[in-house]
Every structure is written in structure tokens, then in C-alpha cells.
Symmetry: C2
Subunit: 428 residues, 2 copies
């Protein structure tokens, strides 16, 4: 009975566990520090008050409940010993015959760790609800203040990073301020909200074609988003952002500029690329250890195109399933194959009923692209109930222009430690 340890319940880990579920002569232990699998591609909708966290997350152990040979443990890995074939976690040690590391990526601020305080990223549920809190609190604060300069600052939103996430965030803020909030305020006109999308490169959505990117830019501008390419952020503080030594007074700043692979605690001598991702072999194994694999955002696979595959859900899912297959082939005495990513294309959505899609040579945009985006995301969304509820949420929002989760929720829950009042959003 071979023991497979999977670290991380994201797209890679979950798909590997499912494929190994029910297989003979294998037992699987999946370890994750969260108890839930998160559907990352829709996390921006939680940050934008469109969905609740539970709509896009499901308990890992429920998703794997039907596989008797798979057990799930919530915990955190402290170190990995590839020689001794052990993983030590905060709850004890695990011995493995096969190891799959797929812990994903975390935001990087390129050496400015202090920027995170002022410009949260969007990788986790707590980050999403924090962004939601800041976004909505800015409008609330703007309604309260009298000083017009201060109000302008409160109604200025800066999104840093012109990739798909940055575009989705900026588009959603534009849409929210133009439509959702328009009727709700008395003193402020939310339509005057400034949304600025900052990209250091020559254009947004570099992974897309020139034509599609400029279409996306026009769509963003229709939603009131100013797109600033070739702009380098030189400073971020409580007052706003400094772009090429020019200051933007903004109270809400979002960071979508860069991520790095999660570090490998105790995997010394492991080759990582400049983004901290483990350089993997053709079969996704690492450091000459055929029984240790890395997949998903944490892996740097260059054997197919010469440059690393992007950190997307499709790559992670396919790599997860590949690793499971490789293990099963080992047990069956068959030779391993080399991993090949089958690219189904890419898409990005820009606010209400606009998107761009590229599938090989095929490229389209507008409402039909948005519909495609919708269907694909619903299809891949984990768990029947989540799908149903997200569809209903969207249908409802689409018809009413409303958003279903406009809650400003504070972190502090005690009455006796900090008075709950002290948690009222400061106007910072």
C-alpha cells in the first residue's frame, strides 16, 4: 500500500487526489492549511461584493468524501525531507512513498513588503473580504466628509497590475460605481469615482493579442476606468500612490502586479526560477527525486515552450491529473510520459457582459465572449450547489444591477477586548 502525500488542496492537489481516489494499492493524505478548496478565478467577485466566500469555496473533505482511500488533514507543513521521505507538519510527521507539492503562489511586492498594508493583493478569502471592506468603506467615508479634496481622494481607486486580475478588478469597480451604487448615496455622486489601472508594461493584458488588449482598454474606458500603461509605481503609502514621481491621492489601492511561488521550507538545494517556482522535470518531478513532484503555480515547467507555463487553473488541473497518472503508471510498472499542457485558450472579463476570449487562432469579444466566460467558469466551478448559487447570484445581479454581498465586516469579534465600535472603518 503506497502512501501519497499531497500538500495543497488547490486545483492541482484536488485533481490529483480525485484521480488517485479509489485506485488500488494507494492511500492518499491531502494536507492544506485551509479546510476549503477555493475557486480562485472568481475570488475577485468576492472582493467586489458580488459573491459570498461560500459561493466559491467548498470543504476539501466533502469534495473527497466518497474516496475511502483519501484522507484530508487541515494543517501546515513545516519542512520536507526528500531523502528521508518525510513531511513534518504542525500536527506531526508523515512518511510518504510519493509526494506532490502544490502550495500555489503568494503575492510579491518586489522588495516593498510594507506596501501590502496599503495595497492588499487578492489570493485568499480574508484578502478578498478585506478589499471589499476597504472598497465599500471608502464610499461610506466619502458620504460623511465635507472637505472636497478628501472626498476626491476617497473616491479614487487605483489598481496596480494590468493582467487579467487587475483588469477584472478595475472593471468591476467602474461598473459598481456607475451602476450599483448610483442611487444609494445622497451627498456623493458615485459616477464621479476615479478608477485608475496602472501597468508598468507598454499595454495591459500582455498575454493577449494587441487587438484584444486594445478592445479591453476601450471597454474599461466605457466603464470610466483610466488605463495608464508604461507607468511605474515608485511609492505606496496611506496617502496614495506615486507613479513616476507623480502622486495620485487615493484611499483604496489594490495590488495585482505580481506573485511568486510559495517557498519550500526545508527543501534546500532545490532549483527555483526567479519567481521562486520549483524548476521541474519533464515528468514534474524535482531535484532528481522521481517520487517527489511539484505542480501548479508552485512549479516552473519550461520543457514545452521554453518559458514557464502560466500560473493558471487549467495548467494546475492538468498537472495534478498528470502526477496522479504518473504514480499509477509507476505502480503498474509502466514508463512515465512527459507532461504536455493542452492549451484551451484564455479569457478575461471586463465588468458587466463584456469579455475577451482567445482560443488558438479564434478570437472574439463582447457579449458572446462574456457568455463564453460565464459558461466556462460555471462549468469548472466546484460542486453542484455552488454552481447553482453563483448562476442565480449572477442572474439576479445582471437583472437588478445590484450586488449581493455588500457587507463591511470587521475583523474584531470581541466586545470586551476592543469595543466593536473601535472597528468602524477609519477614513484612511
Amino acid at each position: 500500500m503506497k502512501h501519497v502525500v499531497i500538500v495543497g488542496g488547490g486545483f492541482a492537489g484536488l485533481n490529483a487526489a480525485k484521480k488517485l481516489g479509489g485506485a488500488p494499492d494507494v492511500r492518499v493524505t491531502l494536507v492544506d492549511r485551509q479546510n476549503y478548496h477555493l475557486f480562485q478565478p472568481l475570488l475577485y467577485q468576492v472582493a467586489m461584493a458580488g459573491l459570498s466566500p461560500a459561493d466559491i469555496a467548498a470543504p476539501i473533505r466533502s469534495l473527497l468524501a466518497r474516496y475511502e482511500n483519501v484522507s484530508v488533514l487541515q494543517g501546515r507543513i513545516q519542512s520536507v525531507d526528500l531523502q528521508a521521505q518525510t513531511v513534518s507538519a504542525d500536527f506531526g510527521q508523515l512518511e510518504f512513498d510519493y509526494l506532490l507539492l502544490c502550495c500555489g503562489a503568494i503575492p510579491t511586492y518586489f522588495g516593498h513588503a510594507n506596501w501590502e498594508e496599503y495595497a492588499p493583493s487578492l489570493k485568499t478569502v480574508p484578502q478578498a473580504t478585506e478589499i471589499r471592506r476597504r472598497l465599500l468603506s471608502s464610499f461610506e467615508a466619502a458620504e460623511r466628509v465635507d472637505d472636497s479634496a478628501r472626498r476626491r481622494q476617497l473616491l479614487t481607486f487605483v489598481v496596480i497590475g494590468g493582467g487579467p486580475t487587475g483588469v477584472e478588478l478595475a472593471g468591476a469597480i467602474g461598473e459598481m460605481s456607475r451602476f450599483t451604487l448610483a442611487r444609494d448615496f445622497r451627498k456623493i455622486d458615485t459616477k464621479l469615482t476615479r478608477v485608475i489601472l496602472i501597468e508598468s508594461g507598454p499595454r495591459i493584458l500582455p498575454s493577449f493579442s494587441e487587438k484584444q488588449a486594445s478592445r479591453a482598454t476601450r471597454d474599461l474606458e466605457k466603464l470610466g476606468v483610466q488605463v495608464w500603461p508604461d507607468s511605474l509605481v515608485t511609492r505606496i503609502d496611506e496617502d496614495g500612490v506615486e507613479v513616476d514621481a507623480k502622486r495620485i491621492h487615493a484611499s483604496t489601492i489594490l495590488w495585482a502586479a505580481g506573485v511568486r511561488g510559495v517557498e519550500f521550507v526545508g527543501c534546500d538545494g532545490l532549483e527555483v526560477d526567479e519567481q521562486g517556482r520549483a524548476v521541474v522535470d519533464k515528468d514534474l518531478s524535482i531535484g532528481g527525486h522521481p517520487n517527489a513532484f511539484v505542480a501548479g503555480d508552485q512549479a516552473s515547467f519550461t520543457h514545452q515552450t521554453g518559458k514557464p507555463l502560466p500560473g493558471t487553473a487549467p495548467v494546475a488541473m492538468q498537472q495534478g491529473r498528470f502526477v496522479a497518472r504518473a504514480i499509477l503508471r509507476d505502480l503498474a510498472g509502466k514508463p512515465r510520459e512527459a507532461f504536455r499542457f493542452f492549451d484551451r485558450g484564455q479569457m478575461a472579463t471586463i465588468g458587466r457582459s463584456r469579455a475577451i476570449v482567445e482560443i488558438g487562432k479564434l478570437r472574439f469579444s463582447g457579449w458572446f465572449a462574456w457568455l463564453t466566460w460565464l459558461v466556462v467558469h460555471i462549468y469548472f466551478l466546484v460542486g453542484f450547489k455552488n454552481r447553482l448559487f453563483v448562476v442565480l447570484n449572477w442572474a439576479w445581479s445582471y437583472v437588478t444591477f445590484r450586488r449581493g454581498a455588500r457587507l463591511i465586516v470587521e475583523h474584531e469579534w470581541r466586545f470586551n477586548k476592543t469595543d466593536a465600535n473601535d472597528q468602524t472603518p477609519s477614513e484612511k
Copy 2:
């Protein structure tokens, strides 16, 4: 143009604002430290992972958006000056012609403020998600540990307080452990979970009839809940609860034993009862100030039955509407009436498809009572969309025995301040 200031967007404040909305010669400013109205009666379902916060909460300003003469401000009141007719908030000062205070109630630990750390109450959204986090984390931790005594402690849940909230919490934990989680774990048998409901009085649900209360007790026992009446909690700490000097080793403890009215900052010389609620006149005005009212959980109205009305939603709603009516009668030059609470009865639910209902002389229980409970709560739930989604959630849970929001979400969102891993639920 008279200015009415309403402090608090709960049932009382919201209903008063709606009734004053659109009325001539009145403008209303509603101040709340949250941006959302919370449907308290269903908050226990958020704590029990059945609903998401957004399912039972809606932005106050959306709920009042259509009333041009009502403006909503998120902020916190620092003091009230009834003579000068001013309210000072963290965002500035408001002058009022009429004032309605309806800030609700907060949990009280009867002089043991330090107990809150170990035994959270259920009044706010952050508290509900904190309870959810502790509840689910205990099962996760139990699956990890090997020591059987420790596991028993992790699978022991104590609910303190035998009122409707305590009964609903205990019943939901029993149901969750018996049905929802049963298939998801490998090492532990969640059916062995101990749930203890502690009541200091001779029986649970004192406000209900003897017969109904004992029916509820039997229903709870069917769900594996032990009911301990006449039991006094003498100590709470990280190891568990001490009841009449007898120790229960429990890792999850919930407090539903008592609440007190929110204090009136700067309303010195105001008469309050032993539960900190403002003693109000027949017309809900206070301290001989006919233009200052208190309603809802914060008020102590004794003129109808001799003892204060209970802190329930129906009382708050009727009092809110009454105050609005009283103000409008003033403006119309009509005399004020005395408030009379029209009691539509009371109900409590005990887990899946069981409840008890008392409407005057009419008393029933079981499945039909549960259906009644369902219909009434759905009917009063604010906002069409919330209703729809709650119904669907319940229908789905009812059919599948699953729960839609089983997320353990941590408070910390930064990667660079505390590493997100450090937030993994400790086994405390």
C-alpha cells in the same frame, strides 16, 4: 423641515426610517456603525455554517434608497445631549428635532468579561464567523490528534443558556455532527460528539409553556444534546467549563446566557433597569424629553404587562413604527397614543424540521411548527434576493443534509505582517 436622527439600523431603526420615508416636512438621518442591516433571528445559521452573512444582511442604504428624505451615514455615536438636542459622532455633530435611539443589546458575562475569550456570544457577523471557525476547527483538530482524551475534549461542545438562541445552537450542532459531517471524516466518528446545553434555571425555554419546553428537550435529546437544567457555570477557561464545581473538558464553548442594553454615552441621569435598558414612557420617550425616544432591545417598556417586553424582533419592529407614527402625529398636531405591543406569539426551532410554536392559546410542535417557523422567518427576512437565496439554501440543505458555508476563515489577511500560516486554527 424637522430633522429626525435615528441611531441604529436594526429592526426598530429600519422600520422607523421606512415609515418616515417620503413623509412631508421631515428629513431623516440614520446612523449605524455597520453598513448593513442584520436579520438577527437567523444569525445562528451563519454560526452553524448553513448560511453566508450576505444571505441575512443587506446594506441599510439600499434598503432605504428609494426614500429621498432619508440619508444613511455609517459612523459611531460618541455622545448624546438631550438638552442641546445634538448627537456627536466620529464624523461630526448632528442637530435633531427628534431622536430615536435603538442601538440594541450586547452580551453580558455577569462580571466575567474574561469569559468571552473562551465562550463567544452571537450578536454580530464577526462573532458568528468566529463561532463557525471554532466549531469546524474542533472537528478538524479532532481528526488530527491521536490522544483520545484530547479528542474527546475537542468533540465536546458546551452551549450556555437555555433560551431560544441556546436551543437553536445546541440543536444545530447536534444535527451537524449526526448528519452533515458523518461521512467526511476518517479517524473520528462525529456521531460521538457530545453537545451539552447548560441552563441555570429549572428548565430550558422559560418563556414557553412547560409542555412545549419538555417537547423541545426531547427533540434536543434525539439529536444527541444533553440538557442540564439547574446548572450554574462557575468558571470558563481554555480547558473547558466548570459547572457547580464539576469540570467539563470542552474546546468549544458558546455563550447564549445573557444580554444587556447598549450603554448611553453621555445620557447621564437617564433611568435604566438592571439590564441596562432605558426605562421608557408610555410613548417610548425618555427622561421627560418628549422628542427623544428609545426602542427595541435598548428600551425597557413595562407599562403593558408590568414587566419589560422581551428583546425580540417583533417588539423592535412595532416600536420603531410606533415612534415614526408618534412623530408624524406631532407634526399633524394630533395627540400621541400609548405604545401597545401586539403579541403574535413566539417560536423556537430545534435542528432539522422540528420546532415549537405558541400563538396565544394555540400551541403546536413538530414538522408543521417548523414549517410555520420557516414561513414566518422567510416572510420577515429583508429583501427579495435574500429571501430567495435563503429558501434555496434551506431547500438544498434539507434535501442533501449538507451545509453551504463550511469555511474556516482566519482574521489575518496580510502575508507580510503575520504569515498566513500562523493563522491555522490552534487546537485550543
